[in-house]
């Protein structure tokens, strides 16, 4: 029930985003949290689309409550839908390469968007910092789908995310 309501909220926000989609990206004002490159339609700095915290927050809110391979107890992850970010930049590829501040890299096929993964900025209400997997963390609704409980998906939970390149 909770998830259904969340899903409806997400759709509503998605429509809002779609309305925004046509607009050109503003220039980031604060520190850059995420830069998107590759096959994207909209950019703001060079051929990249750069986002500060406010810009990301503006893309709507999403949350997932789930356990993870790092924590057996359920945690509340809050942030924005990955889909919202990609739509904002007009991404048009089949997969993307995500890289982290700790030099971790992983390819994520864009079909994973069907699971509605989010880019979390808060865990259990605490804003994620660099020292604890911040500032961005891709989170899948692991508990909601059995298919997600595998190493392949677990390895896509990239934390300290800072770059996305759409191929």
């Amino acid at each position: 029930m909770h998830y259904v309501m969340l899903g409806m909220l997400a759709m509503l926000l998605g429509q809002v985003c779609a309305a925004q989609a046509a607009e050109p990206l503003p220039l980031p004002k604060g520190p850059i949290l995420l830069s998107v490159s590759g096959k994207i339609e909209r950019t703001n700095v060079g051929n990249e689309a750069q986002f500060d915290r406010d810009m990301l927050e503006a893309l709507g809110q999403a949350s997932i409550t789930t356990a993870s391979i790092l924590s057996k107890k359920k945690q509340l992850f809050e942030g924005v839908f990955l889909r919202a970010i990609l739509e904002r930049v007009g991404a048009s590829g089949t997969s993307m390469s995500a890289s982290a501040l700790n030099s971790y890299k992983i390819d994520i096929p864009l079909e994973d968007l069907k699971y509605d993964p989010i880019v979390a900025m808060r865990v259990d209400g605490q804003v994620l910092k660099l020292r604890d997997k911040g500032p961005l963390w891709i989170v899948y609704p692991r508990d909601a789908y059995g298919a997600l409980q595998t190493q392949a998906y677990d390895s896509r939970w990239i934390w300290q995310l800072n770059k996305l390149r759409v191929d």
Partner: protein, 714 residues
């Protein structure tokens, strides 16, 4: 059937085995799923990777700190100690998370790691600000140590992993092998079942083929049996089968008959009792009956119908066999008619025979003789009234009369012998004269006719018997008389000759001696002559008396008298005659009145007394006793003389009979006979007890005479 049961059992066992194997298989699958989960969650490689990442970050951190201490200014903030510390702390964080911490805890390095983490956290504010070169170098040393610690942890985790993965592999292998074994078992069972199924299908098809062949055979038989109609029907009496035989019997074609109600097909099947029988056949009861169709002579027909229950394909059906038995039926009817004629004839003959029998019986009934017939087993066939009326039968054998019983009745009669008692089949012929009641004699004859029937004839021969008895007694008397005369002649020749010889010799002596005889001598001779004379006289008297008695010339003139005085008088007189003898008396003091002819009784007493004296030798002692007993008076005379031999006792009362012991003693043999006959005239008897050489006791009895009798007599 047995085989298929065995098949079923084997199949059942296989099925059961398969169920068990399937259960095992599902268990194995569950275990495989467990392994899968195991493989998915407990990824030790991740663990190692995490450790190596942390180690790398520690190395980077150490390098960054060294560069800082060297006074280097970082163009890229990502190479600065602050950024690297944050990254290292985040890496350490992950290592101290649940699953990673658990593995590290197992190798006992969690404490070191936690201490390092605490150190880094404490160093965080320091790194954020401007830290001195010394501080940076000290921190670098500590981080460097952390990297070594991490390497050590990695080593230990690898070793642990290897140990664990070895055991896990063994376990997985076991599970896989078990699953394989179970699968093989399943495949084998399935194969077995399949083979069974295949064989079953094969057998079923064979059975079907056999059944079809049988069906074809039975169809062939049913359709070609032309002299017998066969019809099958179901519980609604709907015709299922109608063979050509039926067609020829009832002129209904099979295609017209099948599927229609039996009642409609022919009037034969609409008769209520036939419908009943058909229904009973459906219910399981067989029936057989004949159906006759009346018609013109030569047109009548008789059908024999056999109904049986049939069970086909779990359905209860009935089958009827119909056969034309007209010929047999006609033959039977002919035979019945002839039988009837014969019976009439037999009845007429029987009536004629009965009449003849009645006539015969009437003849037998009216016959004077008793007549009975028995069959060879002794059962009574017939007996006329004379038989039933005969004394023994009337008394003893009214019920349950058969030949042995009948003859046993007569066995009690005088003249019967043991032949009448031992009768049993086969009976023998018997001829016997019997006294069936007082003065009635009968001749009983048992004869066999044709060896089967036994006739018994009972003829009254009383008249003949009476004549025979009269003749017999006359003959007896004649013989007795002859005998008496012979005895008499013998007695006379002895008894008369002696006195005559004495007379002659005395006379001779007197004649020869003449005058030379003395007075005394002459006297003695004359006395002898006289004695001989008187003896002769006595002899003659007694002979005359006997003759008188024989001729019945002695009359009895009874009168009351005193027996005591009578006997005493005689005794005294006897004593005077024979002075050498002693006579004792034991008599009552009162007179004993008896009723008798005194003259005759005197003769008796004299005879007994003289006998006693005569047969007692030189010194005779005689005892006379008189007593009364009841209405009679008794008188006994006892002596102690020569006695009588036992074998001669019965004869001593015969006339002219004299005992052996009496030879040499004069006597006629008439006395005792005479005395006994006198006593018989008085209604009494002389009884004798005697032992040879010990003496004799003669007792006679007379009726007592009381006053009343005296008066009556008067």
């Amino acid at each position: 059937m047995k085989r298929s049961l065995g098949n079923h059992k084997a199949g059942l066992v296989t099925l059961l085995a398969m169920v068990v194997l399937a259960l095992c298989l599902s268990f194995a699958v569950v275990r495989l799923f467990g392994i899968d989960r195991d493989l998915r969650t407990e990824d030790t490689h991740t663990n190692l990777w995490m450790i190596s990442q942390a180690e790398f970050e520690a190395a980077l951190m150490a390098e960054s700190l060294a560069r800082y201490a060297g006074g280097e200014v970082f163009s890229d903030s990502e190479e600065g100690p602050e950024f690297r510390l944050a990254i290292l702390i985040s890496r350490m964080n992950v290592l101290l998370d649940d699953s990673q911490a658990e593995v590290i805890g197992r190798i006992g390095q969690l404490g070191d790691l936690k201490a390092a983490y605490l150190l880094l956290t404490l160093a965080e504010p320091l790194v954020g600000q401007k830290m001195s070169v010394e501080e940076a170098l000290r921190l670098r040393t500590q981080v460097h140590e952390l990297s070594y610690t991490l390497r050590e942890i990695a080593n230990k985790v690898v070793i642990l992993n290897r140990a664990e993965s070895a055991s896990k592999r063994a376990m997985y292998l076991q599970v896989v092998l078990e699953s394989f074994a179970i699968l093989s078992g399943l495949i084998l069972s399935a194969a077995f079942l399949l083979i069974k199924l295949f064989r079953g299908v094969q057998e079923a098809s064979q059975a079907r083929q056999l059944l079809r062949q049988e069906q074809e055979l039975s169809d062939l038989v049913i359709n070609n049996v032309s002299n017998q109609g066969i019809v099958m029907f179901d519980e609604k009496l709907e015709c299922l089968l109608w063979n050509p035989g039926m067609e020829s019997l009832l002129s209904v074609r099979p295609d017209e008959a099948i599927g229609r109600q039996m009642q409609v097909l022919d009037p034969l099947f609409s008769k209520p009792d036939i419908i009943d029988s058909l229904r009973q056949a459906i219910d399981g009861t067989s029936a057989i009956f004949e159906d006759e169709t009346a018609g013109e002579p030569g047109q009548e027909r008789c059908l024999e119908i056999n109904c049986f229950p049939v069970s086909m394909a779990e359905r209860r059906l009935g089958i009827a066999f119909v056969r034309d038995v007209t010929e047999q039926w006609l033959a039977r009817k002919q035979a019945e008619r002839q039988n009837f004629d014969l019976e009439i004839k037999v009845l007429q003959r029987t009536a004629a025979l009965r009449q003849a029998e009645r006539r015969l019986i009437a003849a037998i009934e009216s016959a004077a003789e008793g007549f009975a017939a028995f069959d060879w087993t002794g059962r009574l066939l017939f007996a006329n009234e004379q038989i039933w009326a005969s004394a023994p039968v009337a008394l003893w054998c009214r019920e349950e009369m058969n030949l042995p019983v009948f003859l046993r009745c007569f066995s009690m009669c005088e003249g019967a012998d043991e032949r009448l008692l031992v009768v049993q089949p086969p009976f023998e012929e018997i001829e016997v004269d019997i006294l069936i009641k007082k003065d009635v004699w009968a001749h009983l004859s048992v004869t066999k006719a044709d060896g089967a029937t036994i006739f018994v004839q009972l003829t009254d021969i009383s008249a003949y018997k009476q004549v025979a008895a009269a003749l017999q007694s006359a003959l007896e008397r004649e013989r007795e008389t002859t005998n008496a005369y012979r005895n008499f002649v013998s007695m006379v020749s002895h008894q008369f000759r002696t006195p005559l010889a004495i007379l002659d010799s005395s006379a001779q002596r007197i004649l020869r001696r003449g005058a030379s005889l003395t007075e005394d001598e002459l006297y003695s001779r004359i006395q002898k002559i006289r004695n001989a004379g008187s003896r002769l006289t006595r002899l003659v008297e007694s002979v005359l008396n006997a003759a008188k008695l024989d001729e019945g010339r002695i009359e009895l003139n009874p009168e009351p008298c005193d027996l005591v005085s009578l006997v005493m008088d005689i005794g005294e007189r006897q004593s005077e005659l024979n002075s050498h003898s002693t006579i004792r008396f034991q008599v009552p003091e009162q007179p004993v009145q008896v009723y008798c002819d005194t003259m005759l009784i005197e003769q008796v007493v004299i005879n007994l007394l003289s006998n006693a004296v005569k047969y007692s030798g030189e010194q005779p002692v005689v005892e006379i006793t008189i007593w009364t007993e009841g209405a009679r008076a008794f008188c006994s005379v006892r002596d102690w003389g020569i006695g009588i031999p036992p074998d001669e006792m019965p004869k001593i009362f015969d006339r002219f009979y004299r005992a052996r012991t009496a030879s040499g003693i004069a006597g006629t043999g008439i006395g005792l006979n005479f005395a006994q006959r006198i006593m018989h005239l008085h209604g009494g008897e002389i009884q004798v007890k005697s032992n040879e050489a010990e003496g004799s006791l003669f007792t006679f009895d007379l009726p007592l005479s009381n006053v009343d009798q005296t008066q009556q007599a008067a």
